[in-house]
Symmetry: C2
Amino acid sequence: MMVTIKDIAKATGVSPSTVSRVLADNPRISEDTKKKVRKTMRELGYHPNIHARNLVAKSSKAIGVILPSSADKALQNPFFPEVLRGIGSVTHEREYAMVLSSAQNGEEIMSEVRRMVFGRYVDGLILLYSRINDPVTEFLNEQDFPYVIVGKPYENINTVTHVDNDNFTAGKEITKYLIDQGHEYIAFIGGSRELFVTVDREAGYEAALKEAGLPNIEEQKLHTEFLKSGGREAVESILALEKRPTAIVVSDDLISLGVLSRLEQSGVNVPEDISVVSFNNVYLSEITRPALTTIDIHIYELGAQSAKALIEKAENKSEPAKRIIIPHDIIYRDSVSKRES
Amino acid sequence: MMVTIKDIAKATGVSPSTVSRVLADNPRISEDTKKKVRKTMRELGYHPNIHARNLVAKSSKAIGVILPSSADKALQNPFFPEVLRGIGSVTHEREYAMVLSSAQNGEEIMSEVRRMVFGRYVDGLILLYSRINDPVTEFLNEQDFPYVIVGKPYENINTVTHVDNDNFTAGKEITKYLIDQGHEYIAFIGGSRELFVTVDREAGYEAALKEAGLPNIEEQKLHTEFLKSGGREAVESILALEKRPTAIVVSDDLISLGVLSRLEQSGVNVPEDISVVSFNNVYLSEITRPALTTIDIHIYELGAQSAKALIEKAENKSEPAKRIIIPHDIIYRDSVSKRES
DNA sequence: AATTAAAGTTTAATTGTTTTACTAACAAAC
DNA sequence: GTTTGTTAGTAAAACAATTAAACTTTAATT
């Protein structure tokens, strides 16, 4: 019922191993024979059985992608589909499959990772999150299993391959841009301080303030649970500030959405009264009103590079750990105004 | 290096087949022996090799998910992560793997599907799109390969299993709700008319108008390329209408985002001047200003049910084709106002 | 003419599991 | 005391590929 290598062999009048070698385009086989074999393959509609191949090759030509636990709504961030697209572009090109973790919480993630690793279901893993004291990375280290992290690892930063942006510099640049436009009171709204993205971007923001000789005021730095109410209370705190800021650096486009809407609600005009900038440049930032000036972190590239690095690592265990920094750039839109100081 | 069934057999002093049967919890093996075998497994850290198993089982305990071609930005719709979550919940529970297509265009999708099907990489496929004259579905029919469609199939609607909402009724209900609030001039903004979702929801909208004896005016029904400018021009056309509508039915939360922002830009207050309702209830609809009254279509369930149906189909080829309709309900928020008529 | 080399194929082992067919031991039935 | 049946297990044959080693040819070298 299923066409096997043996059928092709018999039909062509060669041995199975010859067929296998044709498949691998082995130079030991003459062009003549190859042509004949390939013809039979086409005629009988042959397709190699992946499981048989994987069994002997001890690899699966597949990589796994582990999403953060989906309990929180972070998954709805357009960031994820976009990294997946990036990863997909290289898995497709290299004929790898892309297996998605389907776990909902830490417990489940761990059991899924176990299955993938022990069952040799995948040749490597991409982690789309990074947590402190993560049992998953601990396990992977223990097993010496190839993995790469998108973002900044909490531990072993020099021995685990990761693909990240220079979030510090990005934060500094965008803040500097605000300062150059004449802003002096600049607030910061970030996601959870447990995330490196937040911390790094915030540090950049602080560095820019410092460099410009502006005060780093504790009260104008707010943190909000990602998505939960989308940074609305953060805005409230800011508006209640004695010295109201004229600009806000928001650490994620998605949070900006809530920020923008809460600002509008209070009759604060963006950018006339308050300027807003943020990070990621997901498509949303184009359709908000006003369109957001934001840092394009090239999410797609983040995914593509991590997949590339992972596959290299998986195919050659001795490949050294790498840090890959994806460049960013500022997309100027309409959420920033010049201010006479 | 890798612990196999044979190692366990030798260490326990039984035959490999016995070990295999213990794995399958076969009643032919005495509890005593099972206990001993399992103990050795734990001690040696045994994990079955998936490829070997799949090879003889002629199945892969994996399902593939085909996304629409990612060229357009539709992928950034939070709809997708959410269906994936739903699918993942059941694949995880049943110990299936979830393989994501990574193709960017029709051509690539087709080659990827071929690889998955012929290589027996997956036992079935979930299509997250439905196109007219789709070579993929044609191919799958030809190969008699299990698949289910999320949404409404363009062809063979009675022979292909699909999971959908009753978009007609949903459209009708939400429109009726608007009418009940006293609205008489209600516009419609939809995505591409090539999508059944749009068509169905629009038909429901029209049915509600008709039932209420309201005129079905061609000019107040607009269509916009999904995401492209997010329905802003559609709003412009509506505002230019001689008799300006007091409410708009938008066929997707994401489009509403653009609609809302364009409305605000023109100084039109929502809901005071114009009410807006839409569909999907992605998390975005909570954080817009005002929060959107929208139809919750239970995206997660859409995914979960399709995975369940697919696995059933894959495990039992004679399973009949099903149509599964996921119920919807209206989430009342702040984007609709009552109007004295 | 004998030896060596190179090219092209084949034979057979291997990968880790499942499964079919068989066996040994013992009890119950005739 | 043979037959039949049950129980608990084993041996060996798939499954569909890859690959190292062995084996033919044919061509080139001595």
